[in-house]
Amino acid sequence: MALRIRKALLDQLRNHGEQTYPHECCGVLVGQFDETGGKTVEGVIACGNTRTDSPENRYHISPAELIRIQRESTLAGQDIVGFYHSHPDWPAKWSSTDLDEAHWTGCSYVITSVENGKAVLTNSFLLLGEEQSKHFEDEVIEVSEGI
């Protein structure tokens, strides 16, 4: 299983983390699931971070934005396949808060570390299990060239 994404789309979500630094960015990945559980990202949708009380270390996507994206992607024959956010001056690995607040089983949670305003590492984590047994597993990101 892997998360497949074109380089231009990967650059788009990494750039978003640089633009919002020192605050966390966040957004939605839409695309297709394949039969083996892998995913292909077809679109990266930047969202606003509603955690204006603590944007440097928290993110939250407005449910209203999620509703709109879910409705539009469903009508377009796409699924929400994952989410992304940045960790300003913190490693590109999931935190206990990330796991506590993750509820989209089967989806990818992509995290980019942004150090001094520059995007460094981007990793993907697959959320598995049910609410009581949920956990992240490392997920390979397969990057293809092209726009």
Partner: protein
């Protein structure tokens, strides 16, 4: 004409893998109840043991959060769409 309920990606395995389920109802609460009657495996993912919606589950009637309408008693009609979305948040 039934009401459409949009099912989010993580809950589709418990709803016959369908992105949209149609239910007959007069309120949002009735629609959600009929949804879990049709697809019993969905119940524990939508509702806590006390029968209330789980805290991280958002339910919208068209573009409105039902928490700011009449909650479960919010009237729903045939042309309405109910959307269920778990919250998305985190941080370091």
């Amino acid at each position: 004409m039934p009401i459409k309920v949009l099912i989010p990606t993580p809950l589709r395995p418990y709803a016959g893998k369908q992105p949209i389920v149609e239910v007959s109802a007069h309120t949002v609460g009735e629609a959600l109840n009929n949804l879990v009657v049709q697809h019993p495996d969905l119940r524990k993912h939508l509702f806590a043991k006390d029968g209330k919606l789980r805290s991280f589950v958002n339910v919208y009637l068209n573009d409105e959060d039902i928490r700011y309408l009449a909650k479960d008693a919010t009237p729903a009609k045939e042309t309405d769409t109910i959307t269920v979305v778990p919250s998305v948040a985190g941080g370091v």
